[in-house]
């Protein structure tokens, strides 16, 4: 289980997180929604251990990731997989080399086994035949799927998705959401997904949390969030221009 307790973070004078509290149960997909530039990716980077908080705790199976160093942190991170916003594929490597990278660097697998595993994972995300292409030669949707394959190849227990469908057309976005859902059902990983895709996210996630003004203002099942009486949540998920959220 992942538990975020009273998390605070400021960049210079700008307070981004002002006491975030959040719980994510094992084997669930939690969707983190909220306005652009409101700190969702910052919160995600804290949970992954890429950023240190000013105050607060991030417990992953009762270990505070913000306090861990060296090998203990490394061991914990080895349980994670991250699909970054732009895919974060190594642009000088081919699709095959990108997916093979963690296997080559972190395991003692033989070249033949690596090849077999990479081909299998690429087939799982529907990318057979794209092995020799470079990231610059494939579409945005394909990049996200390669990033997902690179992440899955290490069998992570917890996967973080940072806006996995941003910038994709609705069909590809739906295909990616369905892929995430079906993979989660077969592999049973825990997932935290930062997203803006409303209402699609309600069919993918088990739980939805909304970040506003540096805090989690609502958390529940997709149905509970859709039925929420909170005017901020209501305005956000119905994309209404009038309401408590000021549009700058």
């Amino acid at each position: 289980m992942i538990e975020v307790i009273d998390l605070h973070k400021s960049f210079n004078e700008h307070k981004v997180l002002r006491g975030v509290n959040l719980k994510i149960e094992d084997g669930h997909i939690l969707a983190l929604i909220g306005g652009s530039g409101k700190g969702k990716s910052v919160l995600l980077k804290h949970i992954i251990g890429l950023t240190k908080p000013d105050k607060g705790k991030i417990l992953v199976d009762n270990q505070d990731i913000s306090k861990l160093r060296g090998k203990a942190l490394k061991r914990l991170k080895e349980r994670f997989g991250v699909v970054f916003q732009g895919g974060a594929l190594f642009d000088s490597y081919t699709v095959f080399e990108n997916v093979a990278f963690p296997l080559r660097e972190k395991t003692r697998m033989k070249a033949l086994d690596i090849r077999e595993t990479v081909f299998r994972e690429l087939a799982n995300v529907g990318l057979s035949g794209a092995e020799n292409k470079y990231p610059a030669e494939i579409s945005g949707g394909m990049k996200k799927r390669v990033a997902l394959a690179r992440c899955l190849v290490m069998h992570p227990e917890i996967i973080f998705f940072d806006e996995p469908t941003t910038g994709l057309d609705p069909l590809i976005a739906k295909a990616i959401h369905n892929l995430i859902r079906s993979l989660q059902e077969s592999l049973h990983f825990t997932a935290i997904m930062v997203t803006h895709e409303i209402p699609e996210v309600f069919s993918v996630a088990d739980r939805v949390a909304m970040l506003y003004d540096g805090k989690i203002i609502a958390e529940g099942t997709p149905q509970e969030i859709q039925d929420s009486n909170n005017p901020i949540v209501h305005q956000f998920i119905h994309a209404e221009l009038e309401g408590p959220i000021s549009i700058k």
Binding site: K45, I48, L50, L73, K74, R75, K77, E78, F80, G81, V82, F84, Q85, G86, A88, L89, F90, D91, F101, P102, E105, K106, M154, F160
Partner: protein, 260 residues
């Protein structure tokens, strides 16, 4: 605020920023050295970077080395002949190249060709979250991106310097002996008499330290690049300018130290 204090505020702020930057650079280098001691030792990546920093710069070094030697011989000859010392053209060319021009010009060439590319590459990796991706895979970005470049710089620069000096001496030979008529024996005999092992080591130490400086500054600027394409372009320019200036300043200190 009293306008009288305004200039002091500006100076203080700039000084504070400069000292912070120096401290950050020092920490960056110390962390790199620290991780250099522990496995995994990524030999293949070091070899790849030697190819990038060293092998791919050879053509530039061949051209600049030969022509620097040629122009040196041409200039020296016309100065030395006034004192009837044109026979000393060999050692004059060789010593200038070995002790000073070889290491410095080599370092400037590597800065322009490889240093800028290192900053741009790491900078782009930073802004496209590739550095974060390494970190998220529990792989140390210093081991993958920084240490191979520093080691490759330390290995490549002295070797490039050696190529530069040899070709420079040969270029000087072409002008001094073939074109201006100094005898071949006088040219090489003079070099043999006046160039000591100590001079060669002086050039070697300089190029070794330049190798560290160039890769350290280039990697640092890329690793802490600003946002977007503009940030990377700014970091790349800064990396080249700072490296070039630091090379010349450091050269002065190294020379005073080694001469003393």
């Amino acid at each position: 605020m009293n306008p009288v204090f305004f200039p002091f505020k500006i100076i203080g702020k700039s000084l504070h920023k400069f000292i912070r930057e120096l401290g950050k650079m020092g920490c960056f280098f110390a962390i790199s050295l620290f991780w250099m001691l522990f496995p995994p030792y990524l030999i293949r990546r070091v070899i790849k970077q030697i190819n990038f920093i060293g092998v791919k710069t050879i053509l530039v070094i061949v051209l600049t080395g030969s022509f620097t030697g040629m122009v040196l011989a041409l200039q020296m000859y016309h100065v030395l002949i006034k004192f009837g010392a044109e026979a000393r053209i060999g050692p004059a060319v060789a010593l200038s190249l070995i002790k000073e021009l070889g290491p410095v010009i080599c370092a400037l060439m590597v800065t322009g060709r490889a240093g800028s590319a290192i900053t741009a590459e790491i900078g782009i990796m930073r802004i496209s979250e590739q550095v974060d991706a390494l970190d998220a895979m529990a792989l140390n970005p210093y081991k993958y991106l920084i240490i191979p470049n520093i080691l490759a710089g330390v290995i490549s620069l002295p070797l490039l310097n050696a190529i530069f000096v040899v070709l420079g001496v040969f270029g000087g030979y072409l002008i001094g002996v073939v074109l201006l008529g100094v005898s071949s024996g006088t040219y090489f005999g003079g070099i043999n008499d006046f160039v000591a092992a100590r001079d060669i080591f002086e050039g070697f130490y300089k190029s070794l330290s330049f190798g560290v400086l160039i890769t350290w500054i280039s990697c640092y600027k890329g690793f802490y690049t600003g946002y977007g394409a503009e940030g990377v372009s700014k970091a790349t320019t800064q990396s080249v300018v700072i490296s070039s200036v630091v090379i010349l300043i450091w050269d002065y200190f190294m020379t005073s130290l080694l001469v003393a």
